[in-house]
Assembly symmetry: C2
Homo-oligomer: 615 residues x 2
């Protein structure tokens, strides 16, 4: 397989860097740093020559080194064609911040390389309604301009629209409904779709026909031939792709490429859930994601079958269920859904509570119930809490904390460690292999996952009969070039660094701001305010000290007293030796001596900020 | 089973709160807050009456609501006896800080309740050499006084001694070597020991004989009847405990009480490891804990058998192996251990690197190797990296980051998801059941684990034939009273809140300091320095602003300019209306108005600190 950093020796490199490096674009969206990144800086090669042949540039902006912020665009290049430069964007997702990004709300893809080509964007296609595919829309669509059309299925569109309400000022989107049978002509690209099973209905994969061949983007998928409840798999269309041939590149979901075997069918999960629901001798409280609409649908149907009432706790979950019902993706008797306050009128075994917060989120429904902060629901002995979603890496501790709270309140807890009732919306290795065998692509490009997941997906590709040179593992931002002659990685990288969203700011939190936040969080801050008589150069009064997050001030009076002495001495000694006084130098000396003193006394390194005021 | 918060109705409560609440003790070790704790404040009941009968108070100071900071003491109470008040302490471990404790090094048990009883402490017994059992020794032993003897096996002692070197000034400990055959008379308590298998050699469980019966503390254990490499199980001694009878309470390890079935034998793990070592076609880099001495021993022996050289990377790992070799717990030909620099002289398949850092720790050997920051080791294609330890909750993201780096550098990675080669040092449910069946205790008290683990251990107890009233689930700090007549939870709680170690400070970081650190880490700090003419009450010059971690200052000039206007206006308007001026009020107004302004512009809430200087 071809590796990002080195050109495969068995296979000559194609002409590359077609458009080459561009000057940095000044835009409201800026680049930030790449978390934890230490490998050598990515090269930006100058253009070698403008190629003669038509080709497609595949530009992944996110989702190739993480789970999240999925976004890519395909650009058709043929100077002789009227469609030269046409672009189609696929997905626009967010990523949740990492541990070393305090205060950051989330991360969105970097669209710096797209901005100068705004006029060429023929459309943005969204594969399904999950945040790692739709979450960046409110932040990025306004940058791309009011006229760019956005295409998605009905359910996906409705959830995108609902989310826009949370943003002010509201930005109206150019929304266009498709079905899995729609054919779209977007400049050089003719798009068609195929339904996939995942864990939200109305999920689709995309086929992009171009003059140099066809490209397939699976979106998130599993191959569930037994259940349509969480997305209807159109297997015949997928088989037809392989039969018709000419699939240049298959871009396929790697989220579960680490897992061997086949993914569970929703039917299996339904059987497990039914056993739990049927046998529950008390209330059942099921924690899951608001976006797992397939799962929610199953539970509501099973509740109906077993004559139980359902309470829905969590605003986003209520919204999503309402949307899905309105669009016909969920069918249930509305009388079976009751409000939390009404639940006490029923026997406990007749109640199922669906709640958000299975990741241990502080303010979500499940934590409020466990904490006795919910206005009408509390855990009572006999309750069974089911975690019906796997734990997102990084959330293990909060889930454990929540579990302990639930046990303490007297609940039984069933989680994914005990029963296989977790999400399971992504293809595992044998499903990925089958997808390759059905689609018969000329090249495989694993997408959607950490680098190691892409590599494992590549191994599956080899087992499916592909040769190493038919597998392309790119990094975020790395341009892949596909022509009739060749499909290959280039050494051209467009900006793909993290763009962090913090409050109203998109991309304005730079590395230095985050570094300061981390430093502040570890040992706090120590501000020394010194008033100096500009004639005598003596410190007036006692220096003021403001400190937060460093030591408990009430019990540190002696330390502060000593620090005042150090401050006075450092300023008077340093300034006394100079004429004229270089106050910047005095401040530096003060910072250094004070920092050393504080470290020697506490082994902590607060951020020391000296303020010197001459009067 | 009996639950901490409510007295079991089926079983009458014994006389309780024997000694009752004591006045708070002033000491250098202070209490801090309990993370994430929201349940109602624990009660402290007044003493009811001094009981007539002899009894033992079991006081768990840590380890009953978490994995870590294991420590408890047993106190003999019989006013008629010369041994009245005698105390034995078991273990003195640390806990790693949680996500909401930035800057904290670790957490140690709260010994406030022990300090006034210092004179009565007959000894501190340490069960084995892991940090969650020994880690608080350097911080707490000095508080207990120079004369308190500490007892442990040779290997445990040597590791405790080595660790003391890291602390300055050094505090000499009163160290006393025991073997698993030692019998110790410590006041009212006669202690004997039994060897257990775990994952470090020389691990023991403790039997405490008292006038009112015997108490058994398992320490960490598994029941490995096939291998002695990670602690020699003395099964006959355990069986003899049950045969002789009169075991009032079995305090037993709950770390793996969530896991069904039996724990693996080290022999199984060895077979897996041997297959990997034998089949490795390139270098093998094995990441594990420095403290997993059993695992390290296995690998070094297997390397010898397969004629491979071993490189040991990581100071703590080298120290521990050297100690284990010196004491005869590891036997190997020293020529087989080579330095990293020498490894290039051998064929790759002849090299095994043992490295610390399998949890993705930033500065540990494995990360430095992956980052190309190691002076003589780099990943090369053909290397296989084995993660031979399970991931500690909270470290999943760093382990994923490390895995991605290793794949990127061209290594193959084998981790516990693929093969069962992880730690496995703790009894699983069937082992716990067997332990209960062998020891035949009158009461079971699950220890060492989160609350939910203790509850699952209790269920195992029921399966082992115990009645609910024979099972005691206590919280940290909750006193358990054991007499000839009864063993029961009381409502008496001694202080057990977190004591945080930060640099040289033990317990001096209070809740307010941590709250400030969190606030600083999320939105930074904004200091406004205003010089006011004390006569005109006008602001002189332009107010100074110092800000860190809030916005990127270079791109926020307009915001800062507007802020200066707000500051000037707030100060002059507020002060102008007062005579005399209440500067505290002016500061409050300034803080409020400035905070509102900054939030309206950014939706961030930096900590706003106003400084007003009158001249």
């Amino acid at each position: 397989m071809m590796i990002a950093k080195t050109q495969d020796r068995r296979h000559p490199a194609p002409a590359r860097g077609l458009r080459g490096a561009r000057p940095r674009i000044s835009s409201p969206v800026h680049t930030a740093f790449r978390s934890g990144e230490t490998r050598s800086k990515k090269p930006r090669t100058a253009p070698i020559a403008t190629p003669k042949y038509a080709h497609v540039r595949i530009v992944p902006l996110g989702g190739l080194e993480e789970v999240g912020r999925n976004m890519m665009y395909l650009e058709y290049v043929d100077p002789k064609s009227a469609n030269h430069g046409d672009i189609v964007v696929i997905d626009m997702g967010l990523q949740f911040p990492e541990d070393n990004m305090p205060g950051i709300d989330y991360i969105v893809p970097n669209i710096e390389s797209l901005l100068p080509k705004r006029e060429h964007i023929k459309g943005v296609v969204i594969t399904h309604a999950h945040y790692d595919h739709i979450g960046a829309i409110p932040h990025l669509m306004p940058e791309l301009g009011r006229n760019v059309p956005l295409y998605a299925t009905d359910l996906t569109l409705a959830i995108i629209e609902k989310r826009q309400e949370d943003f002010h000022p509201p930005h109206s989107l150019n929304l266009n409904k498709i079905s899995s049978d729609t054919v779209l002509k977007l400049g050089a690209f003719e798009l068609s779709f195929f339904g996939v099973s995942h864990n939200v209905p109305a999920s689709v994969g995309v086929v992009l026909r171009t003059p140099i061949g066809r490209f397939v983007h699976t979106g998130d998928f599993k191959l569930d031939v037994r259940s349509d409840i969480a997305g209807k798999l159109e297997l015949e269309k997928i088989k037809e792709l392989g039969r018709a041939g000419d699939i240049r590149v298959l871009m396929s979901d790697s989220t579960n490429a680490r897992e061997t075997g086949h993914q569970f069918s929703e039917t299996d999960i339904q059987i497990e859930m039914e056993a739990i629901i049927k046998n529950a001798k008390g209330r059942l409280i099921i924690g899951t994601f608001a976006s797992l609409l397939g799962r929610l649908n199953e539970i509501i149907q099973l509740a109906e079958r077993h004559k139980k009432k359902v309470v829905i706790e969590g605003r986003s979950m209520r919204n999503n269920i309402e949307i899905a019902r309105r669009l016909g993706y969920m069918k249930f008797d509305e009388k079976n859904i009751i409000r939390a306050e009404e639940s006490s009128k029923y026997l406990p075994e007749k109640i199922i509570v669906l709640a958000t917060g299975a990741q241990g989120e502080d303010r979500a429904a499940l934590m409020r119930i466990a904490n006795r902060q919910h206005r009408s629901l509390q855990i009572q002995p006999g309750d069974t809490v089911v975690f019906s979603s796997s734990v997102i890496p990084g959330n293990e501790r909060s889930v454990q904390l929540l579990t302990d709270k639930l046990y303490r309140e007297g609940a039984e807890v069933i989680n994914y460690r005990m029963l296989d009732i977790h999400a399971g919306g992504h293809a595992k290795q044998e499903d990925l292999k089958l997808m390759i065998e059905l689609v018969k692509p000329q090249f495989l490009m694993p997408i959607e996952g950490n680098h190691s997941f892409l590599k494992m997906h590549a191994k599956v590709g080899l087992r499916a009969g592909l040769k190493p040179e038919q597998i392309i593992i790119a990094d975020n931002g790395q341009v892949v070039e596909a022509s009739r002659e060749q499909v290959a990685l280039t050494k051209e990288y467009v900006p793909s660094s993290y763009v962090m969203v913090d409050g109203l700011g998109v991309g304005d939190v730079k590395e230095v701001v985050l570094r300061d936040r981390k430093m502040l969080s570890e040992d706090g801050i120590f501000v020394a305010i010194v008033i100096v008589d500009s004639e005598t150069l003596k410190v007036r009064n006692s220096p003021d000290i403001i400190s937060r997050g460093f030591v408990y001030l009430r019990e540190s009076k002696e330390l502060l007293q000593q620090a005042r002495g150090i401050i006075r001495k450092a300023v008077e000694e340093t300034a006394g030796k100079m004429s004229p006084v270089n106050w910047t130098y005095v401040k530096d000396m003060l910072r250094e001596r004070l920092g050393e003193f504080l470290f020697s006394k506490t082994q902590r390194r607060p951020m020391v900020l000296p303020v010197i005021i001459e009067v």
